[in-house]
């Protein structure tokens, strides 16, 4: 499959992002909002940490028995009158969806927010076949107008400012008065609501993602704050759910556990405004709802992650907390990561899905500060998994020669403790002596990458090991 990804150019992407004034302004909103809101929501619920354990355990249990829960789920969907389709890869998923749309003679398709639909690039495929896809989540709608990828998994247009959105609306909504006032965000929202309302009512097919699939009942679940996912699925004749295999959970009780950590971790809400449980097509006694219900279950490399170190990544419930707390994401935004999934979760997942040869830069774009792991609602050890990718990249000789020889040099010393202690003492002593006046260096040999942007603090003349030894002695005395 051809994947349209710029992940191999991560370094260039990042450099461009750092110099993008609009982007840097917009990224300020991530740092401010999400972190405090999550913390407040967590503090308000004494059981939050226990719920995170519970969420982790439920996902682990499900993954260990995934084949059986998937069978049970499939049986229940069929029993409720729905259809289940399996897709090995993106191309198969695209064909299944296109066929369903053709069977219903669909001309327009509304879409709820779905990262998997980005993964399989369904919009391009539908357009190429004469069907108009309309994104209905406000953020997704904006980036569709701009022909961009989402830069965040729950806030797709977080990289944009209101003035940019205003320009896009003026460019596209040409049927409206050119002199209208769009200076306030609420005016943009009202305009999008009115434009999209007509699209909702006209759509022939609605495609949504799924946050969870329930094996007990054959139910698919979406959470939204806007209500767009609901209008997408209850108004058209046909509802297509696009989900990947790891969305399974056993029971309604299990999903209630996960829902208690999802919104709190994502936006700091107790619960998203709309949590919707959909099972099959409308019943004979229903007054509304879709007549046809299809679920497309995508693998796309995930089944091969089971039983490996990366199985833990399949616990991810896509809350976005890892990127909200990531200093690298704060600095460069989501587009620099070059594909569908940004931030720490993307740095682990993207190499699994498109290959470490293409996405090897991503697990390297981490300071290993550990904030992502500390906030992950299902406790995925993201730094550890990024480290695994770095090891694989090194083993496969994908790392550049300078980095390799640097690491080999360090490895030589690290494996010889006496030599290591001698060399570090000599270096720290010399640097401490040289920098004793200013306390910092604005230039150092072989450290231009660092000193080009900031001073290097001068060591105090003692190594960590020396100090440790000294203070331990002091403590004992």
């Amino acid at each position: 499959m051809t994947v349209h990804s710029t992940s191999p150019q991560f370094k260039q992407n990042a450099a461009r992002a750092l110099n993008d004034v609009q982007l840097q302004k917009a990224l300020g909103n991530v740092k401010q909002g999400f972190i405090d809101k999550r913390q407040m929501a967590a503090d308000k619920l004494p059981e939050f940490e226990a719920l995170r354990d519970s969420a982790r355990d439920i996902k682990n249990h499900t993954l260990e028995h995934l084949d059986l829960y998937l069978e049970s789920y499939e049986e229940k969907v069929k029993a409720s009158g729905g259809h289940v389709h399996f897709a090995r890869d993106a191309a198969e998923a695209r064909d299944i969806i296109l066929n369903i749309c053709r069977e219903t003679n669909a001309r327009t398709v509304t879409k709820g927010k779905s990262m998997i639909s980005e993964e399989i690039e369904i919009n391009h495929h539908l357009e190429a076949n004469g069907i108009t896809p309309v994104e209905t989540d406000l953020g997704e709608y904006i980036i569709q107008l701009r022909n961009e990828l989402p830069s965040h998994i729950i806030a797709p247009a977080v990289h944009l400012n209101a003035t940019q959105v205003e320009e896009d609306f003026r460019r596209v909504h040409t049927h409206l008065d050119a002199k209208r006032d769009l200076s306030e965000p609420v005016q943009l929202l009202t305009e999008a609501r009115a434009v999209l309302r007509e699209r909702f009512l006209a759509a022939d097919v609605g495609i949504t993602g799924a946050n969870f699939l329930v094996a007990e009942t054959g139910t698919s679940i979406i959470v939204t704050n806007e209500g767009n996912g609901d209008l997408t699925q209850i108004l058209p004749k046909t509802h297509i759910v696009l989900a990947s295999i790891e969305k399974l959970v056993p029971t309604l009780e299990d999903v209630s556990q996960l829902l208690r950590v999802l919104a709190r971790s994502a936006t700091g809400q107790e619960l998203s405004v709309y949590t919707t449980f959909s099972t099959g097509p409308r019943r004979s006694t229903d007054a509304d709802g879709p007549e046809n219900y299809h679920v497309v279950i995508l693998d796309n490399g995930r089944s091969s992650m089971l039983g490996t170190a990366f199985e833990e990544m399949l616990r991810c419930i896509r809350c976005g907390a890892c990127m909200n707390h990531c200093p690298v994401y704060h600095a460069v935004g989501g587009h620099a990561y070059g594909w569908v999934y940004p931030g720490p979760m993307g740095a682990v997942l993207t190499p699994s899905l498109i290959g470490v040869d293409k996405a090897g830069h991503l697990p390297n774009a981490s300071t290993f500060c550990g904030r992502c792991e500390s906030v992950c609602p299902v406790r995925i050890p993201l730094p550890k998994l990024m480290r695994h990718w770095r090891e694989r990249e090194f083993e496969r000789h994908l790392t550049p020669a300078t980095v390799r020889s640097g690491l080999q040099l360090w490895g030589f010393f690290a494996k010889r403790p006496t030599l290591y202690r001698f060399a570090t003492r000599a270096a720290m002593g010399a640097l401490g002596f040289a920098g004793r006046q200013r306390g910092r260096f604005s230039w150092l040999p072989m450290a231009k990458g660092w000193t080009k942007y900031r001073d290097f603090p001068a060591p105090q003349g003692e190594t960590f090991q020396q100090r440790w030894k000294r203070e331990r002695k002091g403590a004992r005395a």
Binding site: F86, L138, I142, P185, T217, Y274, T275
Partner: protein, 223 residues
């Protein structure tokens, strides 16, 4: 091999299982049958007046409004007052819910329409299946009685909930759903609604009324 068989084979190969192991099957069957509860927050584990008070507080936290009436007979007047207070037209759409239909609407001047919404209604009323005190959530089930479109298309949505149907937690509502629809079966749609529609997609500023109702008003009927 079909895509389905291929995916199952790959999952089983990765997990190192055949799929026919009795112990694994028992574990799965057992969990699906027993549906064990996990961690239930203490917050909602209160009863009587305390639970209703918590529910109302949480509804307001979600930026909805809430009021109480002593009996179902007072609902129409209460809705008429709400609409008047917000300068909204005296029109209202509802489904066929017998609890709503039997209310004395003729006591008011409200113009009542029935059936699902086609997207042009300003006001609608639905009857909730239940409420959840833990988070101030309304649980709605789809039917001709309460069409799902009424939950999303109107600008102003009013939800009536009986005080006796306000549960402590989500799990209690699932038990009632199972009792009503049978274990393992569900209505087409269950909507949990926690506040009015909103979006933070433009500069992370919270704005109400994205695609769903701009206002959500909850009426608790004490009986």
């Amino acid at each position: 091999m079909s895509a389905r068989d291929d995916i199952f084979a790959n999952i089983r190969r990765s997990l190192g299982v055949k799929g026919s192991e009795t112990i694994r099957q028992q574990i799965v069957t057992d969990r699906l049958e027993r549906s064990p509860k996990g961690v239930i927050p203490k917050r909602g584990q209160v009863s009587g007046e305390e639970r209703i008070a918590l529910f109302k507080t949480m509804v307001e936290t979600s930026l909805a409004t809430v009021t109480e009436v002593a009996s179902a007979a007072e609902v129409p007047q209460s809705i008429a007052l709400f609409l008047r207070n917000h300068n909204l037209p005296a029109s209202l759409r509802m489904g066929d819910d017998p609890r709503l239909k039997s209310m004395p609407w003729s006591d008011t001047t409200l113009e009542i329409a029935h059936g699902p919404s086609e997207g042009r209604d300003l006001n609608a009323v639905s009857h909730a299946f239940g409420g959840i005190a833990e988070s101030g959530t309304l649980a709605m089930v789809s039917s001709a009685d309460n069409p799902s479109t009424l939950n999303f298309l109107p600008d102003n949505h009013i939800i009536v909930v009986s005080a006796k149907d306000i549960a402590s937690d989500y799990e209690s509502v699932w038990n009632r759903v199972r009792f009503a629809y049978g274990k393992g079966s569900m209505p087409r749609t269950v909507n949990w609604i926690t506040g009015p529609s909103r979006s933070g997609d433009i500069e992370q500023t919270l704005l109400l009324g994205a695609h769903g109702p701009r206002r959500l008003h909850v009426i608790v009927v004490r009986e």
